[in-house]
């Protein structure tokens, strides 16, 4: 232990130029992630707006009520919500140094996320079978691009979480790196929150 501490370069984070604890008393990494999430709001907002703009404008092709399976999507939404719970439990675990639990909760989150994606894929293939594709009509265009981009965000998150899980397995995710789990969590919760908006505005809105 003493060897570890002595071996660390005698430079504070501020002098290293990364993760300064000066300034306004927050870490660079967390601040950076929140700024990124802030900008992602505008990204998703554009596609949500396109969807809302084109709602009800199709003259041909399937309408939402023709293809939506609300019970099924409610189930997948529930799973994604639960993944946020497991994510924050993973963070709580690493903050108290319980690394076994970290791995359990990280894996659970990734699995729930993968289940959600599996559900999306199933849903999309069902819709396609029922005649709704990317190029069928405005509903198809705006729906698949919006949910597809959301799914891409989730998938990237799953890869991220599995990477953290792998790091923890190798003993490379110590308690002092809790922030890595925290920022992954922020990203994950954001993706969940975007889904809350999508589920409401795309699936549940009356036509």
């Amino acid at each position: 232990m003493a060897q570890e501490i002595a071996a660390r370069p005698a430079a504070t984070p501020a002098a290293r130029g990364e993760d300064a604890h000066g300034g306004v008393g927050v870490t660079n990494t967390k601040l950076g992630m929140w700024l990124f999430l802030s900008s992602d709001c505008l990204f998703f907002g554009a596609f949500i707006s396109a969807f809302l703009l084109y709602r009800g404008r199709d003259q041909a092709g399937p309408k939402p009520s023709d293809v939506f399976d609300i019970p099924f999507t409610s189930a997948t939404s529930f799973i994604l919500l639960m993944s946020s719970l497991t994510m924050v439990l993973a963070l709580a675990a690493i903050q108290r140094g319980d690394h076994r639990r970290v791995r359990i909760w990280l894996l659970a989150t990734a699995l729930f996320g993968a289940t959600f994606i599996g559900g999306q894929i199933f849903e999309f293939t069902e819709f396609s079978r029922e005649g709704l594709k990317l190029d069928t009509n405005l509903f198809g265009s705006s729906f698949f691009v919006l949910t597809g981009l959301h799914g891409a965000h989730v998938t990237a998150g799953i890869v991220w979480l599995l990477s953290l899980w792998g790091l923890s397995l190798q003993g490379l995710l110590p308690t002092e790196n809790a922030e890595k789990v925290e920022v992954a969590g922020l990203y994950w919760h954001f993706v969940d929150v975007v889904w809350i908006v999508i589920f409401t505005l795309v699936y549940l809105m009356p036509t």
Binding site: I5, G22, G171, T207
Partner: protein, 148 residues
Amino acid sequence: MSDEVAPESGSSIAEKVEGEVEKVEGELEAAEHEVEEHLPEGAVTPAPGLLPGELYPHPSPFRYVMIAVILVVVTALEVSVSYLEGSIADGLIVFLLVVMAIVKFGLVASWYMHLRTDKPIFRNFFVLGIVAAIILYFVVLLTLHVFS
């Protein structure tokens, strides 16, 4: 690092050692910080036990589970309301759904993303992005006659 070396059964001795190490490392870091860099004016030294960026300690796991239960209940309510299409006015359904979505969004952001226990700067930037998105796209939709 003792984290990787400690047996996976989580024996209390190993955990205690872990805790000691973290305490010593934290103290060393603080001492280094003081010696090599001036603490900038206005910088907040986190209170003991708090991480940088936190104003209050994070919620407990029990709370997280409670929030999850509320989220599930609200989602069930949302789905139920959507099935009322035809029985009650569309405008009312829209209103209820939007309110419930905001509630869920707020719960996840405040509790799971720790906005209610962290320093306000994170919330301020996030809200800035959300508000900007809502206003700008609302004006676009308005101009394209979505609401007429």
